[in-house]
Each structure stands twice: as C-alpha cells, then as structure tokens.
C-alpha cells in the first residue's frame, strides 16, 4: 500500500500554547485510522493543518504528493461544527457539492438522507444537532474520494443517533479509500479502526495497529486509552 497522507515533523503553536508539536505519521491507502485523545489534545488542530485551514509553523503535509490547498478534491471533510449556512436546506447543500465536486453522488446522498429519515427541504436551523450531523455525513460520505476525514462526528449526540451515524459511516465507506476519524468516544467506534494514533498535549503518544495493541496489551483500545490517560493511577507507557 502506498502512502496517501504524509505528515512530517508538523508543529503549530498558538502563541505560547502548544497546538501540535513535531508530529509525523503516514496514512496508507485503504487504512482506517482513529485519531484519539482527550479534548484539547490537538486532534482538530492536526486535521485543520491537513485540510489547509491552518498554516504550520514548521513541517509539511502532503496528500498524494500535493500540499493541502491543492488537494481538496482528494479529501471529503466533515468538520467538528456545521459548515453550511443555517438557512440552508440539504437540497441547496447537494447543489453546492454537485457544482464543485465531480465525484459527488447525489443519488447516494439522497438515499442516505432517506435512511436517516431526513427531509432534504428542511432548513438546517430547524434540525437537532444529531439530525445536522447525519445530514452532513450524508453529504460527506457521498463523495468518491481517496481520503475521508471526519472530525468528532459523534460528539454531543445521544447514543441512538451515534449508532445511526456509525452505521452510516460503515455502510457508505468505500473500502478502497482511507478514513481518518477523530474522536474521544472510543468504545463506539473502535471496531472500525485498523490503526490508532493517540495524541496527548500536541504530541503523538502512541501509533499502533489495533490488532497488535489488543494482542500485546490484552485490552480493548478503549480500556487502553482510559488507562493511558489516567495519570493519577500511573498510566501504562506507550511503546
């Protein structure tokens, strides 16, 4: 498998505060990687750097050999918060995606919206957070791209809606593509991952294949995560 996303020695600070520090890792084609860590550990900063929405202090990001601002056609991105106008209905969002992305599959988007029992004419401002998240997911997963990046797709959502979103990802994910999913709700999604990258205060604390981690540690990813981020109890050391 060749490298789809390559991050090298990436650093970004917010004044004296650390965003991400000297991060390096690569994502191969077809891989599903979980970007995990507690709130404020740098997950969203890293994703914004990959998307070109933030500029690094040093280091580089390449997506199939291109810098982020030249690679937007290769990535389908779901940000943490809505990026559509509140007045907008999904019909308008479909139109925008259809206009700008040649790989957007409108029929698939409408089918997903139907499965989520959402109306394409309903404005976003009248939808609940869970409904908005599902609507965005229908939009993002209906593109045929090599890389999907989903930033906290299930935060602030009730467990029933979470399961529905997870199903939406599983059923509509193209097996040939790669997926980078950031979350701190690990137990819900850990069966998805091939690999996990744990971030801690801007650093990569752990980067391991899930199978290896389970076999060597004898724990689920969620259990390992909880122990790793429980300083008072003397967390396990990353290898």
């Amino acid at each position: 498998m060749s490298k789809l996303l390559e991050i090298q020695e990436l650093t970004r600070r917010y004044g004296p505060r650390r965003g991400v520090e000297n991060i390096s890792f690569a994502l191969k084609e077809g891989e599903i990687v979980g970007l995990l860590g507690p709130n404020g550990c740098g997950k969203t900063t890293l994703i914004k750097l990959v998307m070109g929405l933030l500029q690094p202090d040093s280091g580089s990001v390449l997506i199939q050999g291109r810098v982020p601002r030249e690679a937007h056609h290769l990535i389908s991105y779901l940000p943490e918060n809505t990026y559509l106008g509140e007045w907008m209905a999904m019909e308008e969002a479909f139109r925008i995606f259809g206009d700008f992305y040649a790989d957007f599959d409108r029929a698939k988007a409408e089918r997903m919206l139907g499965e989520f029992q959402l109306d394409s004419r309903q404005p976003l401002k009248t939808m609940s957070k869970g409904m908005q998240e599902k609507a965005h997911l229908a939009l993002v997963m209906s593109r045929h791209v090599p890389l999907y990046i989903l930033d906290e797709p299930m935060s602030g959502i009730d467990p029933a809606a979470r399961q529905s979103i997870l199903d939406g990802i599983l059923q509509n994910y193209n097996p040939g593509s790669s997926l980078l999913l950031s979350t701190h709700l690990i137990s819900d999604v850990e069966m998805l991952f091939d690999r996990v990258v744990f971030l801690d205060d801007g650093y990569v604390r752990l980067d391991r294949y899930v199978e290896d981690l389970r076999a060597e540690e004898g724990r689920s990813v969620d259990e390992y995560f909880r122990r790793l981020y429980a300083p008072a109890k003397g967390g396990v050391h990353a290898s």
Partner: protein, 294 residues
C-alpha cells in the same frame, strides 16, 4: 469554478433581495401614490421614508457585502469555502465580482427610486416627467459651464462609481482578512477593527504626505462664461503658499483673481487611494491562500 462561486454568492444575494426588494418597492409605491395625489402629512411621510430608503440602498448592499465576506470566509462557513476545490485567487475574485454585481443592482434600483421620487409631485400636476426633464436640463447647463461633454461626464461618473465600490471592497477585504489572520488571532472580532483603524491612520498620513510629494493637480481655470478643468503636473501646495493662508472665507471669483485666473487642487490623495486598491488586491489575495481559521 469562478462562475460557480459567483453563482453561489448570487443565490445568497437573491435570498436577501427577497426581503429588500419588496420593502423598497412598497416604499416607492406608497410615496408615488400618497404624495402623487397630494395627501397631506402621510404623503410627505411616505416620500421621506422612500427618500431614506433610496439613500440607504447602496450603503446597505455594501454592508451586506462585508457581512457576506466575513461569514463565507471566516465564520464556520469558511470551513466549506476554504475546502472547496478552488484557488485562493478564485475565492477572492468570486467575492469581488459578485459584490460588484450586487452594487450595480443596488445602484440601478436606487436610480429607479430617484426617478420615481421625481415623478411623485408631477402626477398631481398632470406633468409626470416634468421634474426629470428639469433635472436633465440642469445637468446640461452645468456641463456647459464646466466645458465637459456628456460622454466625458458619463465616463467620469462611471469611474467614480467604480472607484467607490473598489475602494470599499479593498478596505473591508483587507481589514477582515488581515484582522482574522494569525497576528490578531487572540482578538476575536476586534482584529478587523484594529486593522481598520491602522489602515485609516496610514491612509490619512499618506494623504497628507502625497499632497506634499506627488506633483499632480486638478486645475480649475476661468474660460469664457464657464470654467475649464485640466489635470496638470505640479504641486497644488506651491500655489497655496504663493496665495497665502490669509482669508478662508473668499468667494470663488476672489479665489480665481488671487490665483491668477486658476486654482489647483492636489490629486495626491486620489493617487494614494488608487495605490491602496492595488495593494489591497495583491495583499488580500495572497493572505487568502494562507488562511488560519479559528
């Protein structure tokens, strides 16, 4: 892709126009009917409201342009705008062109409004276009006095109209883009205001310096029954120093006599204004490629 960006903006504008156009139309119609048929008080009120609406139309569209620029590029919607497969240059030009289309639409609406307001009194007198004809005759005599052809005057007005839009766009696009940039990342919405204050201060200083250093003036000279306008290479300050600063309450004729048949007005600040538009164009376009969303 640029065409699609403009279409996207125009759809948003059309949505805003859904509210503005009917309200403005209603104001004009009520002025036309109520004042046109000489209804006391309500007629005047309707006329004044329509006049205020007409005066506010273009500034309102410019303000909407500012709001849209910020929202689409730097609010949560920026996460979509900046991840669309378009270049920073296309993003900038999209906003510039869609903004100018909206400005043109607002101008046409305002001009139509002015025409309607001019017609209101004429309706009652049975002379609907009387005031409009009087207006054009007045314009004709002013042009004759200034020794300017109608074509040159139209070109000049078009230029002024375009420069008003370009300088407004240059100012707000630069202030928002720089103010939302990394340097002011801790100041929230205060960033653009600080940049605005800095830019205004620099422009003021540059305007004064340009008056002293740029040898370009508009010469107003007496010519027969009227006056002649001419752009000349020379410092307006020189004539000002020769004339002295004695009396600021002089009439136009006294001023002409003192100036030896002509008066020069410095155009340095206009040169600086145009230079600012060019600077803003390149600077803002470049900064849009290096966005740092919060």
């Amino acid at each position: 892709m640029l065409r699609k960006l403009i279409a996207l903006d125009m759809r948003a504008f059309a949505r805003q126009l859904q509210w503005i156009a009917p309200i403005y139309g209603l104001l004009l119609l009520s002025a036309l009917l109520l004042r046109g048929f000489n209804l006391p008080v309500v007629g005047v009120v309707a006329y004044v409201l329509a006049l205020i609406g007409t005066a506010l139309l273009i500034p309102a569209v410019l303000v909407l342009g500012i709001v849209r620029y910020y929202r689409h590029l730097y609010s949560h919607q920026g996460y979509l705008t900046h991840t669309l497969p378009v270049t920073a240059s296309q993003r900038y030009h999209g906003k510039l062109i869609s903004g100018s289309i909206m400005y043109a639409a607002a101008t046409l609406m305002a001009l139509a409004g002015v025409a309607v307001l001019m017609m209101t009194k004429g309706i009652a007198r049975g002379d609907v276009f009387g005031k409009i004809l009087v207006f054009f005759r007045g314009v004709e005599s002013i042009l004759a006095y200034l020794n300017i052809s109608s074509f040159a005057a139209a070109l000049f007005l078009l230029g002024v109209w375009l420069v008003i839009f370009l300088s407004t766009f240059a100012l707000y696009s630069l202030c928002i883009t720089a103010g939302m940039g990394r340097l002011f990342s801790r100041m929230g919405m205060g960033g653009p205001f600080i940049v605005y204050l800095l830019v205004t201060l620099i422009n003021q200083v540059a305007g004064v310096v340009s008056f002293l250093l740029i040898p370009l003036s508009l010469r107003i000279a007496v010519a027969g029954d009227g006056i002649r306008l001419k752009i000349v290479v020379g410092f307006a300050l020189r004539q000002l120093l020769e004339m002295g600063f004695k009396n600021q309450q002089m009439t136009f004729d006294e001023l002409m006599t003192l100036g030896g048949g002509y008066v020069d007005f410095g155009l340095g600040s206009i040169v600086i204004g145009l230079a600012f538009i060019v600077f803003s164009y390149f600077f803002t376009k470049r900064q849009l490629a290096k966005v740092n969303l919060r």
